[in-house]
């Protein structure tokens, strides 16, 4: 190999620069977001449960809202039957945001942490404080 030393040194420097963000941020993880369930409606509930389990809602709520949107707008389906058999109106404004009326402490807390910017808010949730 011609100029082997230079090439290998160059490659090592290149790999270090490319992976620099990882080295520089080792051990500096951001605080995980704190999600607040402290809203007037939730505090009134005798049994504090969402329409599905917290684990399901945490991982699947984008998919659920996507399905709801098509069901209620395009298929005229207005009722969601949860896995426990309870019925809920399919509505972001009238079901989800009735309880979760604290957008910045609940929704935005995670969305900001994971750097996602859903456009739900352009139309929905106009009546609740930001």
């Amino acid at each position: 190999m011609y100029n082997g030393g230079k090439i290998i040194t160059g490659l090592i420097i290149f790999a270090l620069i490319i992976t620099a963000p990882f080295w520089l941020n080792i051990g500096q993880a951001d605080e995980p977001p704190e999600i607040s369930l402290d809203t007037p409606v939730i505090n009134q509930l005798s049994e504090k449960e969402c329409i599905e389990s917290a684990e399901f809602m945490r991982s699947q709520h984008p998919q659920l809202l996507n399905d709801w949107r098509d069901q209620v707008v395009r298929e005229g389906k207005t009722v969601y039957t949860s896995s426990s058999g309870k019925e809920y109106q399919i509505s972001l404004d009238n079901t989800c945001l009735q309880c979760h009326s604290n957008r910045s402490e609940f929704c935005d807390a995670c969305h900001a942490y994971t750097s996602v910017d859903p456009y739900c808010w352009d139309c929905h949730g106009g009546g609740i404080a930001k």
Binding site: R69, V73, G76, T78, V79, D93, Y119, C123, G126, G127
Partner: protein, 261 residues
Amino acid sequence: MMNRRDFLKIMASLGIGSALVLEGIDRIGTAADTIPGSKNLQAGHWGMVIDVSKFKTPEDIQRVAAACHKYHNVPEINDPQHEIKWIWQEDFEHTFAELESEYLSEKVKQMQFPVLCNHCENPACVRVCPTQATFKRPDGIVAMDYHRCIGCRYCMAACPYGARSFNFFDPRPYIEEINSAVPTRTKGVVEKCTFCMERLDKGQQPVCAEASGGAIIFGDLSDPDSPVRKVLRDNFFLRRKVELGTGPSVYYIIGGGGSNA
């Protein structure tokens, strides 16, 4: 060995059989669907009759329009190029342009009409929409899916009634008080009257019908015993621009009916 004739027979019966099964599955999926704690309204074809004689003054129309716009978070933008309207007021010439005549009585010329989306049987807006953001529901309502609207405004060009408005900018600053029960719209989408489909799902009449004090009658055009059909049987009515073949679902009674000779 099966001959060609038998093969075709078997395939045809299989096809018909599976179509029936699929149809059945489809029905199971759409069975009883009622929001907890309410009773939804259903119809074969929603329609509206507007008794213009009961709108005594232009203020009556404005009151009804204001009630609709307040409920649906329609922004109040006082610039005719950018304004958003779901239901508004027009004079005779602009409501029934094809009936305009120089000999028209002064009384008719001065009449004011509430106008809105006609929820056509054959809607031009639906045909031109490239994303199917606007579509016709089985119950006759021409609905909007704002999530899909890309703001191309073909529907506005196609609608012969000017019933659609475009959001050139974020409408929220122009809404006095946001009704949190319904979403607002966003910059870049077209909007229009929805025949209050989310209220029908909850068993409520449209806002305009409720606010009009009986001047606007709403009901099922496919049901011969419905209030709308009864009014249409007893009165002469007009629809806007029927000659275009759009089949409007909004009917206008001019005279107010009764027992005039």
